[in-house]
Symmetry: C2
Subunit: 110 residues, 2 copies
DNA sequence: TGACAATACCTCGTGTATCTATGTATAATA
DNA sequence: TATTATACATAGATACACGAGGTATTGTCA
C-alpha cells in the first residue's frame, strides 16, 4: 500500500501527461524547461514513478518510433490518472495554502 | 551531512519560532490551528527535528516552569536559525512557483 | 477516589521518496 | 572515431515522516 504525504513527483508527471502523451526522457526535459530548472528530476526518480503509475492504472504505455528512428516508450494518461491528477492538484493547493498560512502568520517574513 | 530536498518541516518549525519561543507540544498545536489542520505534525516527526535544529545551532533550548507548574522545554530561534529560515522561505517560494508553473502549463486544469 | 483525557517529553522501527551510481544501447556531432 | 545527447532501466544509499510505544504530570468528572 502506497501512502505518500505530498506526491510532488506524481503530481508533476501526471500534469505533463494531461497535456500530451510523453516519453520518459521528454518528461524530464520538459519539467526542467517549464519550471526554469526548479525541477531537474533524475532518471532514478522518474522511471520507478512511471512504472508505479502504470501499475496503478493511471497511465498506459506504448512504444513508438521517433522521427529519428529511435524507439520511445510513450505514456498516456488514463481516466483513472486524470482523476488522480484532480485529487492531487487539490491536495497540493491545500498544502501550499497551509504553508502560506503559516508563513504569513509570522510578521518577521516579508 | 543532512541534505533535504524541500525542508517542509524545518521551514514550518522555524517560522513558528520566529514569532515567539515555543515548546514542542505547543508547536504541534499551533501548527494545526494556524493551518486549519492541514499540518497535524506527529511527535515522532517534531522532536527529532527540534533536536537536529538544536545540533545545528539554529535553535537554543531552555527549560521553564509553566503557570500550571509543569516543566516545559522552550526553543528559541538563533541568528543562525533566522538565516536558515530566510533561505528556506525563498526555497519554498521558488518551489511553489515551480509547481504552479507546471500546473498552469496544463490547460486541462482549472 | 479512581479512571480517564490532556499535556509534555522522548525513542525506535519501518516505509517511502529521492538521489547517486551504474549499466545498456542508439543517434548525432565534432 | 571519439564524445555527447538521447533513451531506457535497476540497485544501493540516504533522508524524511510516520506509527507505535514508553514515561510522567495535571486536569476533569463521575
Amino acid at each position: 500500500m502506497k501512502k505518500k504525504t505530498i506526491d510532488h513527483t506524481d503530481l508533476l508527471v501526471l500534469t505533463l501527461l494531461a497535456g500530451e502523451d510523453m516519453y520518459g526522457y521528454q518528461i524530464i526535459t520538459e519539467l526542467a524547461r517549464r519550471s526554469d530548472h526548479t525541477f531537474d528530476m533524475k532518471e532514478g526518480t522518474l522511471y520507478p514513478v512511471l512504472h508505479s503509475l502504470w501499475q496503478e492504472g493511471q497511465v498506459e504505455a506504448y512504444e513508438a518510433e521517433a522521427p529519428t528512428g529511435r524507439k520511445r516508450k510513450y505514456y498516456h494518461l488514463t481516466k483513472k490518472g486524470r482523476e488522480a491528477l484532480r485529487v492531487e492538484t487539490q491536495a497540493w493547493r491545500a498544502y501550499a495554502r497551509g504553508v502560506d498560512a503559516i508563513l504569513s502568520s509570522c510578521p518577521a517574513l516579508g
